[in-house]
Symmetry: C2
Subunit: 351 residues, 2 copies
């Protein structure tokens, strides 16, 4: 039957996610999970949801309670919120809605590797635009005819951000929608939510968010999009009716409600990020200013792949990434202070 696969699928090597060792001995700094527990309210809400009726019945297809909570906490229109089985589901839904076979998807590079996979799966072309030297977008954007443009902001692997005005200008120049992938925006100074609101709306902007990073809920799979309600009505046709389960909806709603708890985690993570960045710089790493919960570590004096391998032998997992045209580096999650210390101790002996 392999011969009957779509050629685009057959040719794919498949997206390779970060390693997820089941062995608890690893210090896991490779997939940007939050090192701290989810809010106690999440546990309470999940325990309350473990009833026969909640489990045996279908969940709410559009997540009304979550959308109302998001509306309240984020100041957006609940009808402009689309729920997703993680933000990767959101990115897939948007791709299937706007990109025909043979269409064009564009993203700055280096950035999130999944965008290319989404293009491959859709049978679309994928083209990249290199970031400027300061990790801003180039002054002139060359591919405004794209069916869909993804900008991860903060960007992965760099952790850097592009200003809101620059995104607004890009959205105005583009023919198709601009997806601002804000998986890490909760750690940043600013975000693009304002661009989705009626006052000063950029109609082509779709903001994507996840609960896997800031909200410490990678295990339950939940993300959402914020966009013009007219766009969300169309995206609802593309999403699977029951893409989000009752427990992830419950967990996400409870987490969103407990902003104070997560703000206290954010203070800790940003403090550790500052300390890690300074210490890694002292060890000779070149690190762009991060507004995310990870840092992108490169070196001018030696290859970094051996460092990744040595760290792995010592049960510290970081993400090694190698981008054609812009070279390689280690993307290291900001963990707890103890995890950062452990990493730094090992690196001192390696560089």
């Amino acid at each position: 039957m392999i011969e009957h696969l779509r050629p685009a699928v057959r040719a794919m090597s498949g997206y390779v996610p970060g390693e997820q060792p089941r062995d608890g001995a690893f210090v896991k700094l490779n997939t940007n999970e939050n090192p701290y527990p989810p809010s106690p309210r999440v546990f309470d809400a999940l325990r309350d949801a473990l009833t026969a009726d909640r489990l045996r019945r279908y969940p709410d297809p559009t997540g009304v309670h979550f959308r109302q909570m998001a509306g309240r906490v984020l100041g957006v229109d609940p009808d402009g919120v689309l729920i997703g089985n993680g933000s990767d589901d959101i990115l897939t839904i948007v791709t299937r809605a706007f990109v025909p076979e043979g269409g064009l998807i564009v993203s700055p590079t280096p950035s999130y590797l999944l965008y290319r996979t989404l293009a491959d799966l859709q049978g679309a072309r994928f083209q990249t635009v290199p970031f400027a030297a300061d990790w801003d977008l180039p002054e002139a954007w060359p591919l405004e005819q794209a069916h869909l443009t993804f900008v991860a902001n903060p960007n992965s692997p760099s952790g850097t951000t592009v200003g809101r005005e620059r995104l607004q200008r890009l959205a105005a120049e583009l023919k198709g929608p601009l997806v601002v992938d804000e998986a890490y925006a909760d750690f940043a100074d600013d975000n693009a939510l304002e661009l989705t609101k009626p006052n000063g709306r950029s109609p082509g902007v779709i903001v994507s968010r996840t609960f896997s990073k800031y909200y410490s809920l990678a295990g339950v799979r939940f993300g959402f999009a914020v966009a013009d309600p007219a766009v969300v009505r169309e995206l609802l046709k593309v999403k699977d009716s029951y893409n989000c389960d009752v427990l992830s909806l419950t967990a996400a709603t409870a987490a969103l409600e407990d902003q104070d708890y997560y703000r206290s985690l954010r203070v800790k993570i940003l403090a550790t990020r500052g300390r890690m960045t300074e210490a890694l710089a002292r060890l000779g790493f070149v690190i762009p200013p991060s507004q995310a919960n990870f840092v992108w570590c490169r070196r001018d004096d030696r290859p970094v792949k051996p460092l990744y391998e040595e760290l792995k032998k010592r049960c510290i997992l970081v993400r090694y990434m190698n981008y054609e045209g812009s070279g390689d580096g280690l993307r290291i999650t900001v963990g707890t202070d103890a995890e950062a210390d452990r990493l730094l101790e090992e690196l001192v002996g390696l560089v």
Copy 2:
């Protein structure tokens, strides 16, 4: 931005799932949930899984523990098992793997309405083949060139089944894969799993299963496919890396392990099905022999839509379905005995 949607998406009206009232007053017999609680082991396993590390970390992308359990319980190769966020996710993955834009998807009719939506989303054509008068497949299958053929078995809305030999012959005639959608097979006398096994394998057969019906877990969203491991390796490229969350994997694995519990529910549901079928027949409904947890109720003497509406006014929700070319009917879930009695009491006054 609406003007930039793919024309296929813009033209869609969108799949309309069964109503999911949040009001607990309804006797809910419209979307074929199991009326009994999930296994106590499911609750135990879920409670144990509510730890900070399980929630904050990414889940296992391929669901190794679940696949090993499925291998043991179902006697299949764990490498031939693909995990899905509900079986609708499985059907989407298979569609995206095998069907190009402009391709052809075929299904018998009347059957599961989602198949047409999947074709629309993929920009593919959808053609149907009417069931024979006895709800078997027609002797000669006219559309063997399809990129993908879906046969729901037991079928919805009829509850009827097609024999394994007939499916095997169909698979041999088809050019593309045959997806045997076994959402309800756990309630039936037979299934097509044997066709996926090395001895006597039909290489094009992909069996799809769900935990939403038999396993009382519609709320957590979990399904899986069983196929040739070489096919599953390709389907893994198409599925989202983290399509299944840690709690649904936990619940499904625990449920699958407790076969005794679910066999005892099955005995009850099949007994109620028999009683409901007899009583509904006495009230003048024409009902094909069901091997699922629902019955398809039609009448020769009057339209059934007013019955659906009257029942809804009385807080009993059944599924009204109307198929072009084969008419309408009520698809009624087999609930508890008390729910069946409530339904029958109301119907006595209505027909």
